[in-house]
């Protein structure tokens, strides 16, 4: 399928986003849009390894945390937070390599278990290490301007989130039309046949996973600069990994627009849960999220967008 319709859709979203960023004044709405975009980025990053590569990650929060902590560390050491983008990305990619190198050439569950184990290790490490703030985390000092990557209004943050979302979507469009994209698809379709045409599973998946981690890290940097407070529960907790997986699963694993759709559903759902049950901590949100993941897994494993794409393909008579 050509990229053109996707590029038009992305362009439309960017235009709408910019209008909102410059036109709207209500902080609540801008906050919602920022959160939505950030979750879409996180969902897409998860999608690269769990959807396109087919290896489900249950610890994706740690890559988000890499960026957030990198940002906090840069700022508290007097460096510009823009450095956190490469620093966080490299750290995240390194963690991805450690997790993926032993496991991405084996059956899927080895990898998934490894993501849980590494996530637990990283969370424990951050919680107990002094220079990482231990359990208290970091409060970022207030600053202003593009160099400090901090702004008094929410508009510029939305613009940055929009830029990140656009970049990630463009990268995914490119992935689908690249050798790596084809190879990942082939690996999911038929493992033996893929090897017979020279596809190196571990290498392909490691590359996808490293990029996935880097993308999540970028979202983490923005988050830190937005909320100005990070600690292990807000950036490294299992709950965040669950949210990310939910977005990816509901939207549709392995699809271009799945994460965006999933993020939309999640944001609406989270708001509804908060209104009805008064916020997380009592477990009601987990009941709903868990039930949704179970239903999707049992009935519509390819999520919202996956099911739609499947229906379109069938209609087009590709099966004729």
């Amino acid at each position: 399928m050509t990229a053109r319709p996707h590029l038009y859709a992305l362009g439309a979203i960017v235009v709408l986003g910019l209008l909102a960023a410059f036109g709207l004044r209500e902080a609540v709405v801008l906050d919602l849009i920022f959160t939505l975009l950030l979750y879409a980025v996180l969902g897409q990053s998860w999608n690269w390894i769990s959807g396109y590569a087919g290896n489900i990650s249950f610890g994706h929060a740690i890559f988000f945390g890499c960026g957030a902590y990198a940002s906090a560390l840069c700022v508290t050491h007097g460096l510009t937070p823009w450095l956190a983008f490469p620093a966080g990305a490299l750290t995240a990619a390194a963690l991805a390599l450690v997790t993926g190198f032993p496991t991405l050439g084996l059956r899927g569950h080895y990898f998934s278990i490894a993501t849980i184990a590494v996530a637990a290790l990283v969370e424990t490490f951050a919680r107990t290490t002094p220079w990482l703030g231990k359990a208290n985390g970091f409060e970022l000092p207030i600053a202003s301007g593009w160099a400090a990557l901090q702004f008094p209004q929410k508009g510029p943050y939305v613009v940055l989130a929009l830029a990140l979302f656009a970049a990630v979507q463009l990268a995914t469009i490119a992935l689908e039309r690249s050798r790596l994209g084809y190879y990942l698809r082939a690996l999911r379709a038929n493992h033996a046949a893929a090897a017979s045409v020279g596809i190196d599973e571990r290498r392909c998946k490691l590359i996808a996973f490293a990029w996935s981690a880097a993308m999540a890290s970028a979202a983490g940097v923005l988050y830190a600069q937005y909320t100005l407070f990070i600690d292990p529960p807000s950036t490294l907790a299992l709950a965040i990994s669950i949210d990310i997986a939910l977005i990816g699963v509901v939207g549709g694993i392995g699809t271009l627009w799945g994460p965006a759709a999933g993020a939309l559903v999640y944001v609406v759902l989270a708001k509804a849960v908060a209104l009805r049950f008064g916020g997380a901590g009592k477990g009601y949100d987990l009941v709903i999220y868990g039930a949704i993941i179970c239903l999707i897994a049992a009935l519509r494993p390819y999520g919202i967008v996956g099911t739609i794409v499947d229906a379109i393909r069938r209609r087009r008579g590709a099966l004729a």
Binding site: R177, S178, R179, Y182, Y183, R185, A186, A189, N190, A192, A193, A194, A195, S196, V197, G198, I199, D200, E201, A318, L319, A320
Partner: protein
């Protein structure tokens, strides 16, 4: 006389205490079509798997283009110049025909545009061009096999390994397959095929290697194979029945 493209010596493979291969020797001359035959349980599939890199031999050597390749990681074999098909066809069910062959072409042509162009050419060559947008799962068995050959050809192999490609084909489909084989040879690709369907293989194979009980028992022309007493004994056990095959062999 130039070096054979593929030279197998003393190939042995044990699965626990079972000796599947116990000394297989095999030569494949460049540009030829060599048949690998033998009675059921002789070890043809195991030998094939060892040559293709899917199994690591317990002993022996597999020399391709003068280089030892036994024990190479399976996914590196294609890059060395060996393509293969599977006895039980392994289709990319949800990919279109063009996408599947493009996946093969990407090995030597990393840029998608070049790979697609090459894939189109290969599809035209094997005769699947009109079906290029069909999903893999929607093809007939003969077309699935054809697709698998196209996918392997797209990796631009010097040696094409075919595993019982004629199995399950009607006589008309077999004839088409033979015609495709001739065109593949004309393109300069060497072919080694494991085959059970004798009537098809014997007329076209320039060279035949017979395996029985894990060992090579004959290597020579097809005509020589049907008259060789060791081959007859391995297959049939009775000198009377072999005459039917002998009649079909030039």
């Amino acid at each position: 006389m130039s070096e054979p493209l593929l030279q197998v010596r003393g190939l042995a493979k044990r699965f626990g205490s079972l000796r599947a291969l116990d000394g297989v020797d095999l030569d494949v001359a460049e540009g030829s079509l060599t048949g690998l035959i033998g009675p059921n349980g002789a070890g043809k599939s195991t030998a094939f798997a060892c040559i293709a890199g899917a199994e690591k031999p317990s002993a022996g050597s597999v020399c391709f283009r003068g280089r030892e390749i036994a024990g190479t990681a399976y996914h590196r074999v294609a890059a060395l110049g060996i393509g293969r098909t599977y006895q039980l066809v392994q289709t990319f069910a949800d990919m279109t025909v063009l996408e599947a062959v493009t996946t093969g072409a990407l090995l030597r042509r990393p840029r998608l545009r070049d790979a697609v162009a090459h894939a189109q050419e290969v599809l035209a060559f094997v005769g699947l061009a009109e079906k290029r947008y069909r999903l893999g799962r929607a093809l007939t068995i003969a077309d699935k096999k054809r697709l698998e050959v196209a996918r392997a050809l797209a990796t631009e192999p010097a040696l094409l390994l075919l595993d019982e490609v004629m199995a399950g084909l009607t006589p008309a489909e077999c004839a088409e397959a033979v015609e495709l084989l001739r065109r593949i040879l004309a393109r300069g690709v060497t072919v080694l095929m494991v085959e059970h369907v004798m009537e098809v293989l014997m007329p076209i194979a320039e060279h035949v290697v017979v395996i029985a009980a894990g060992k090579t028992i004959f290597s020579g022309s097809a005509a020589g194979a049907v008259r060789d007493p060791a081959v007859i004994a391995a297959y049939l056990g009775s000198p009377l029945e072999h005459s039917e095959i002998a009649e079909r062999t030039p």
